[in-house]
Subunit: 196 residues, 2 copies
Amino acid sequence: MPVAKGSTIDPARTRAAILGAATELLYEHGLDGIGVAGLCSGIGISKETLYRHFGTKDGLVEAVLRERSDRVARRLASCAQAAGDDPRAQLAAVFDALRQWYDDPVFRGCALLNAAAQHHTDPVRAITARHLDRYLELLTGIAERAGAADPRLLGRQLLMLVEGATVVAAHHDSTDAADQARQAALTLLSAATPHT
Amino acid sequence: MPVAKGSTIDPARTRAAILGAATELLYEHGLDGIGVAGLCSGIGISKETLYRHFGTKDGLVEAVLRERSDRVARRLASCAQAAGDDPRAQLAAVFDALRQWYDDPVFRGCALLNAAAQHHTDPVRAITARHLDRYLELLTGIAERAGAADPRLLGRQLLMLVEGATVVAAHHDSTDAADQARQAALTLLSAATPHT
DNA sequence: ATCGGATCGAACCGACCGGTACTATCTGTG
DNA sequence: CACAGATAGTACCGGTCGGTTCGATCCGAT
């Protein structure tokens, strides 16, 4: 069959649908754990469609990673912002968001870090590094607003806590990981803030 | 040529040599980034030799991961022990050892975590989980000897710092990562220790 | 001196890989 | 209604994958 009986022919929508389905499949199976044929059958498209939209499997992978990084960073930033103006509350909100993520049954660690571990090619590494940059920017901003003596240092330390909690939750034991990391983060924040 | 002109026929030594060379190759290229043929030519052995010793590529991979976990955990524990009896000094020594590791030009993050990200199969995941368990045991021991109010909590938080520092050093920027994590670790240790 | 085991090198296998080509069929537009 | 573009489905391509087999050759122990 061509083009599926009742489906709308809308390249932009098709592309978005491919991205969404491919994101899940690549996250679950790993970049090298599923081939183009498996991806296409899992997504429900033909190879030609995939190649017309993304040119290459690597092209699809990079598009998936970029989109995922964008979405995750936006979501985390909005969680922080929704917590109000208090930097401590914002920091706590970040780890609360992480807890929800860790409890997701399909949680397998950070997709960007996993991808960089699998394809340590320049494009993938660049996307991953930018992803960590976004996290760092968010956390450093919180550190600044909290009045930390050295916001850039504290930002990096908080970034390590976030990524460490994710790693531990993914590969060791996710029980309470986010809460434990949150408590550590607040301790670091307090210690780095001149007593008010 | 068979058996290489001047080589000793010693299965145990051959096995150890394969393990050592394969460890580097698999770490550098990733588990799926190098095939059996590439491994054999890189190691300098024939396929038959590899398959007689390890049965399967997966068998080789698991043996490599197990041996690496053993070696790394032993080395880290001995670094801590060599720092004397003071728990704070032991903790600092752990991060000093990490700094040396991060500065290694071939540093690519934790091999065990990378492996788990690539092959999230039960055997690999079990080896990785045990690896983190060993880290946790070391750090929890330090927390206990330091008199932390909740040594198991502090141990987990320190584990997150160790793993987070490794991730950040590998994928973002290794500059000062170990020192920044060390400072954070000591801060957490102080905060968790009833004032003496 | 002999022999069994260890090893190399190379050929070989089926399966799967990423990617291309082509046809049939549907949608959306004028 | 007609046509152009998007898509499914399928067959196909060369290459590489993990893994097996075999003969030649060398080591080490008897």
